[in-house]
């Protein structure tokens, strides 16, 4: 079912770089003082890759994600999506935040329609997707609920479904389940992996959980702070679909220890 409702829009070969970041710098100005937040970021993300941005709070993960999504402007350097320089938000990119930000005056169905409305898309056609998307995120039959009738986890599932409504090629997820309890988060992580795998979407996930990053990603971009920079671009080599069995492997432990070492966690 994932294949049907979230099928890829084009047939770009999987080895081509979809997101290309070169010599990217970002400086914020505050109270007349300049603060360098990102220094010399160079990255290539391929179509269908699952990438995690991992690093301590304040290292510029959200800033990098917003730059990729065209929500803020870079200082220097280049960000290209499918060979196009990013200037403004584009509809092939879907964003998801730590807060669900559902509109309380709209039902679940109306919230899901919102991105289509804003993009002036075909609403009647979009409505046909709602049922499938809701069952994809495990909330079948909740069309007519209002957000404040749903738990935090359910709201975040709706938020994920809303991000998927426009069937974007690229998902930019900023600690999407960070505010949820561990059980709900694990659950949603597996749903997300499932969706990503079956749909072939490119996912860039911001997280500060090392274990989450290792379990889910094809690649982990480990970042350092002051200013934000890349410590290591790691390939995580596990069979797909991932199961939590990998937690018991030697390789998993080595990845974990290596990242902890990089970030200077533990002793």
């Amino acid at each position: 079912m994932v294949n049907e409702i979230l099928k890829s829009s084009d047939e770009v070969s999987t080895n081509q770089s979809q997101i290309t970041i070169t010599n990217l710098y970002k400086t914020f100005e505050r109270d007349g003082k300049e603060k360098e937040v990102l220094r010399d970021i160079n990255l290539n993300f391929k179509k269908g890759e699952f990438i995690s941005l991992l690093g301590p709070s304040g290292c510029g993960k959200s800033t990098l994600l917003k730059l990729i999504g065209g929500l803020i402007t870079k200082s220097t350097g280049s960000i290209q999506i499918d060979s196009q320089e990013v200037k403004d938000p584009i509809s092939k990119v879907g964003f998801m935040f730590q807060k669900a930000v559902l509109l309380p005056w709209r039902t679940v169905e109306q919230n899901l329609i919102l991105p289509i409305e804003l993009a002036k898309g075909n609403i009647a056609e979009a409505k046909l997707r709602i049922k499938d998307l809701l069952s994809l995120v495990g909330l079948e039959g909740y069309e007519h609920y209002y957000p404040n009738e749903l738990s935090g986890g359910m709201q975040q599932r709706i938020s994920l479904a809303r991000t998927l409504m426009t069937n974007p090629d690229i998902l930019l997820l900023d600690e999407p389940f960070g505010a949820l309890d561990e059980f709900t988060r694990e659950n949603l992580n597996f749903s997300l992996m499932d969706i990503a795998e079956k749909s072939g979407k490119t996912v860039v996930l911001v997280t500060h959980s090392i274990s989450e990053a290792v379990l889910m990603s094809d690649r982990i971009i480990v970042m350092g702070i002051n200013p934000g920079h890349i410590l290591e671009d790691m390939k995580i080599d596990f069979q797909k679909p991932r199961t939590d069995k990998i937690i018991a492997t030697e390789k998993y432990a080595q990845y974990m220890l290596h990242i902890r070492d990089l970030l200077g966690v533990g002793r």
Partner: protein, 268 residues
């Protein structure tokens, strides 16, 4: 474990009873006040010219409610109130929208807004009479002046209360400026706007009455003035009670509208 749940339930049960007792006490207090009032008046402890008894006042109230002249005067006052409220609300909401969407304008006008807000609007009544004469206009302008600020300030605050996350979300969904306003800012501001409207509707009635006190040939304010001069205090009290009931009805109406339109705020 089970003992805890039952004791929690036991605590919950008496709560509604306490509320009922409070209602009962309020009712008893009302009866006490009415009896005291009747006694003070009937035994001439207070002169009945100053304080006619509740029975007399209620009698006058029904007398007024049966008289055709009462309704023509009520109509005038209601018209002034509602016209002032409608115009004042439209002005304040439109101006708030303009001021919020043009940041420079907001900064320039802000000191003036703060000063104007501090002016006791009722003190402007004589000026309005000089400007607009003794007709309806002066009363409507008075109502506008007094009910402008609550809605204006609330609309500004409401429009500015849209959180960054929602704005980012709309931005990421490639929303137009128009959609950002209609589908995010305006609904976010609605609960604030209604809070302003609720306050300003009763203010508009005050404005109309004060306007009529300055001189008028029709209206409840004029009737109060006239009966006061003729020392028919029972009718003055009766009119004040009627006015209070009208204010209450207007308030209940707008609260009902608020609950209908801004349904999502008390869903929880």
């Amino acid at each position: 474990m089970k003992a805890i749940t039952t004791s929690e339930q036991e605590i919950k049960i008496p709560k509604p009873k306490i509320i009922r007792i409070e209602y009962l006490l309020s009712l008893l207090l009302l009866v006490f006040i009415l009896v005291l009032w009747e006694v003070l008046s009937r035994f001439k402890i207070v002169h009945e010219l100053i304080l006619p008894g509740p029975m007399v006042v209620i009698g006058s109230m029904f007398e007024l409610l049966a008289a055709p002249f009462f309704y023509s005067n009520l109509g005038v006052t209601l018209f002034e109130t509602l016209a002032g409220f409608a115009l004042g609300s439209i002005f304040s909401i439109v101006l708030a929208l303009i001021v919020v969407s043009v940041p420079i304008l907001y900064k320039v006008l802000n000191p003036f807004i703060i000063i104007l807000q501090a002016v006791p609007k009722v003190a402007l009544a004589p000026i309005f009479v000089t400007w607009f004469g003794f007709g309806l206009t002066a009363k409507i302008v008075m109502a506008i002046a007094i009910c402008f600020f609550p809605t204006f300030i609330n609309t500004v605050v409401g429009l500015k209360s849209v959180d960054e996350d929602s704005k980012l979300l709309f931005q990421s969904m490639v929303a137009s400026k128009k959609d950002l306003f209609l589908k995010l800012s305006l609904p976010t501001a609605l609960p604030y706007i209604f809070a302003g409207l609720k306050a300003s509707l009763t203010f508009a009635l005050i404005g109309a009455i004060v306007g009529e006190f300055m001189g008028a040939d029709k209206g409840i304010g004029m009737l109060i003035n006239t009966f006061n001069f003729q020392l028919e205090m029972d009718k003055v009290y009766a009119l004040i009670i009627i006015l209070s009931i009208i204010a209450l009805l207007l308030y209940l109406f707008i609260e009902w509208l608020d609950k209908k339109i801004v349904f999502w705020t008390d869903n929880k």
